[in-house]
């Protein structure tokens, strides 16, 4: 046949996870920024900017989980076992903030602070542990006889904890630039001020991770710094620097849309960088997508459904964002 099914599935899942990070990233960011938005009406506006889209964003995570089980059962079972506690914490965080979205607007005045706290706590927890999962996954999970031999707390290590904190700042940046785009007046002004330090912190975090990973792993160092790879891959760090400079300029000039697009670009470049480091392993350090793949009968069967439905989902998502375009003002949406 000549169709590389494992590769196609790796791309589908990679795409799904990227969609999740980019899209749920900014709405988790709103929750992280909530402590910096003390005014109740500003909080209403901030939440309303993502209210129409957040649950669509999270369904990418469900698709990622189901896709992984279908296409790479080994990865699904090892990653989910090894990162059991951080994943459970992440899911519980997502539940809290998901419900907070709904009940905050429906709560009586004296109950509202409970849901505010659930929203903040849930967003922080979900984001931090997503970062921990990412860091632990990138640093590699041992596999013996098709199972994870490590302990339940092995993820408590400097690198995963660092990526956990870094992701909190990354999502906060996505959230603040999103709010710059979607709001106006005092709230927007606040976000302009918050975005600049957030961007520098994120840039520093990207730099640390870019140095830390090759220092930890000679294979990654070889991947990036050997000739001719260094020529092919050098645009990635150069684009990161370029995007950061452009964002500085856009912020200084008070541009509403450009900072968000540049923040998305930064996240995408970071994601691409990790993908380049990891390729072609789907279970670092040394299990490739072909070794971990489910039998072709499973991959082919599931692919039919994915190819039928994913384009439809993308069209609908684009339509939803189109419908809800433009600024959100106090009193919009909910009453």
């Amino acid at each position: 046949m000549g169709i590389d099914l494992p590769l196609i599935w790796a791309l589908i899942i990679g795409f799904g996870v990227m969609m999740y990070v980019l899209m749920d990233g900014f709405d988790l960011g709103i929750g992280i920024l909530y402590p910096f938005i003390p005014d109740r009406h500003h909080r209403d506006v901030a939440m309303n900017t993502v209210a129409p889209v957040w649950d669509g964003n999270e369904t990418w995570l469900v698709l990622g989980g189901a896709g992984l089980l279908a296409a790479f059962p080994l990865v699904y079972s090892v990653v989910l076992t090894a990162l059991y506690l951080p994943l459970i914490f992440m899911l519980l965080g997502l539940i809290f903030r998901g419900i907070a979205f709904e009940f905050r607007f429906k709560a009586r005045d004296h109950e509202r602070h409970i849901w505010d706290k659930a929203f903040i706590g849930g967003s922080f927890t979900a984001t931090f542990f997503q970062g921990v999962v990412l860091g632990a996954y990138v640093s590699g999970l041992p596999v013996e006889n098709g199972a994870y031999p490590g302990g339940p707390l092995d993820w408590i290590a400097p690198f995963p904890l660092f990526t956990g904190v870094a992701l909190v700042f990354a999502y906060a940046l996505l959230g603040s630039t999103w709010l710059i785009m979607k709001t106006e007046g005092e709230l927007q002004f606040r976000m302009f001020h918050l975005t600049r330090p957030l961007m520098w912190i994120l840039l520093a975090a990207i730099a640390v991770i870019s140095l830390w990973t090759p220092l930890r792993d000679p294979v990654i160092a070889e991947r990036w710094f050997s000739f001719p790879n260094i020529v092919w891959f050098s645009p990635v760090p150069l684009l990161v620097v370029g995007a950061a400079l452009l964002m500085q300029r856009a912020l200084a000039r008070g541009r509403p849309v450009a900072p968000f697009l540049l923040a998305l670009l930064l996240m995408f470049l970071g994601y691409a960088g990790l993908a380049i480091s990891g390729w072609p392993n789907i279970l670092p350090p040394d299990i490739s997508i072909w070794e971990a793949a489910a039998p072709p009968q499973s991959l082919g069967f599931a692919l039919v459904g994915a190819l039928l439905i994913i384009p439809f989902i993308l069209m609908y998502t684009a339509f939803a964002y189109y419908v809800f375009r433009g600024k959100v003002r106090p009193g919009d949406g909910y009453h």
């Binding site: 989980g65 990653v79 459904g305 439809f312 809800f324």
Partner: protein, 480 residues
């Protein structure tokens, strides 16, 4: 010892999260079809009661759908976190089936649900009805994939085992495995019945409070007709399902019946039906048994003297936990009989013209409100505990499927799940009940203004289809 404890905790966690989850999809499946019927009747008869009932129940549907999505998110990860060896062994079959379920749900949420919840004034009545019907069919398609996956674990076929991994050979055989058609129909009908009982109890509550209006009467009447027509059919379906189980999983049926076999059944007297008793796994007999001679033979073999394999014919390590299977089965059947009784009594009250004002009957209907959901849970405990000690029947034991977490890890996460679920879903259920308490409002449908996907910046999500404040207590007219 600690390994056994860890296994039990892993099973308890899965049982807890899936039991919580199944309640919401069951009501979603039932309400989606109920809404399709209501809208169809409204378009056909132009009787505005149907339209008003549609607008009442669609809000409860929306909240319930949202809760199902949130609790389902956890399920997508439980297979890997708690049952990693199972996922690795059988993921090549259960994975694609679950992926199809997710894609179906995605597809629904993506299009037709939005039109259904927000499009009343935005699209024509034909297209709106079409969307409702598609959502109803979609919930059944989701059921189809989930139950295909579960049934394959009960009666696996269409696969080969290569290098310790299941490889699908024939997908049609995998999906349409022997127990699948029975389980699919039994569960779908159970969802309809559970929803009808919930609807009927809501109406009974209002009638008992004297909040009598034609819409409340209409929904009570419809729910009671469901009991009359569908509850007996469900008993017949259940009988067929049981015979299918007897053929493929005889140990489960023996546990359901508390039938140990050996000398007690050796004298050719046929199989008694044990009504009550206490199966004792140590002594290998059912103590304090109250039984009816020959009735077991009649039900299970449809003959006077037929018999079935007893538990003693299976090695002790191949037997499920008999008391749990025995009693959960009896709870399900007992509730099913009460449902048939409710239907029969409703016919009598209808004939006497007392359907809407007989207090004892309304109280009975109110008490039966949760019966459908309890019966669903009891039925699932019967079939899932009855499958033990296997996770994939005959292929993989549950003890070989569980991840290698310590009891401490599992205990902590289970405690967290319990606390969070009680808080979060408690709030959701309280909210649903507040909506029910408001009751259907006449002419509600005529005032309906919520727009479709084009409505500016209004959230297009299930839970936010509901515009009621929690501040609004009962009796408000809704016209704010």
């Amino acid at each position: 010892m600690t390994e056994t404890l860890a296994l039990d905790l892993a099973r308890a966690q899965f049982a807890f999260t899936i039991s919580f989850h199944i309640i919401f999809p069951a009501i979603t499946i039932g309400l989606a079809s109920y809404l399709a019927v209501l809208e169809g009747l409204w378009l056909y008869t132009k009787n505005t009661l149907y339209r008003d009932l549609y607008h009442f129940w669609v809000k409860i549907f929306a909240v319930n759908f949202g809760m199902g999505v949130v609790s389902g998110l956890v399920m997508a990860y439980q297979f890997g976190t708690n049952w990693s060896f199972f996922s690795e062994f059988a993921g090549s079959i259960t994975g694609p089936l679950l992926a199809y379920e997710v894609l179906t749900a995605f597809f629904l949420e993506a299009g037709f649900l939005g039109v259904m919840l927000f499009g009343w004034n935005r699209v024509g009545p034909g297209l709106h009805f079409f969307s409702t019907v598609v959502v109803a069919i979609g919930t059944l398609i989701s059921t189809f994939w989930i139950l295909a996956s579960n049934s394959w674990m009960q009666t696996p076929q269409g696969h080969e085992i290569i290098n310790g991994q299941v490889v699908p050979v024939d997908w049609l055989a995998v999906i349409f495995n022997p127990s699948f058609p029975y389980r699919l129909i039994h569960m779908s009908v159970a969802a309809f019945l559970a929803t009808a009982l919930f609807v009927g109890a809501s109406a009974a509550w209002h009638l008992l409070r004297g909040r009598d209006n034609p819409a409340v009467r209409k929904m009570f009447s419809m729910a009671m007709w469901m009991m009359v027509l569908v509850a007996p059919v469900q008993a017949v379906i259940g009988d067929f399902h049981g015979l299918n189980t007897l053929e493929h999983q005889p140990a489960k049926v023996a546990a359901m019946e508390g039938h140990w076999g050996g000398e007690e059944a050796a004298d050719g007297e046929g199989l008694p039906l044990i009504l009550f008793g206490w199966p004792d796994m140590e002594e290998e007999r059912t103590r304090f048994a109250v039984s009816v001679p020959h009735l077991g033979s009649l039900i299970l073999t449809h003959s006077w003297d037929g018999t079935i394999p007893g538990l003693k014919e299976f090695a002790p390590e191949d037997r499920p936990n008999v008391p749990i299977v025995f009693w959960s089965f009896r709870i399900m059947v007992g509730l099913g009989m009460l449902m048939i009784l409710l239907g029969g009594l409703s016919l009598m009250q209808r004939w006497r013209g007392r359907l809407y004002d007989s207090r004892w009957f309304l109280r009975f209907a109110l008490l039966m409100g949760p019966a459908g959901l309890i019966a669903i849970l009891a039925g699932w405990y019967t079939t899932e505990v009855g499958r033990q000690p296997w996770v994939v029947y005959g292929l993989m034991r549950t003890e070989d499927a569980v991840s290698t977490h310590s009891a401490t890890t599992l205990g902590v996460s289970l405690a967290l799940f319990v606390v969070v679920y009680l808080f979060v879903f408690g709030a959701g259920v309280a909210y649903t009940l507040r909506l029910v308490r408001k009751g259907p409002q006449l002419e509600e449908g005529a005032r309906e203004t919520s727009g479709g996907p084009g409505r500016p910046r209004h959230a297009m999500r299930p839970l936010s289809a509901v515009e009621e404040d929690l501040d609004d207590d009962q009796d408000t007219d809704g016209g704010r």
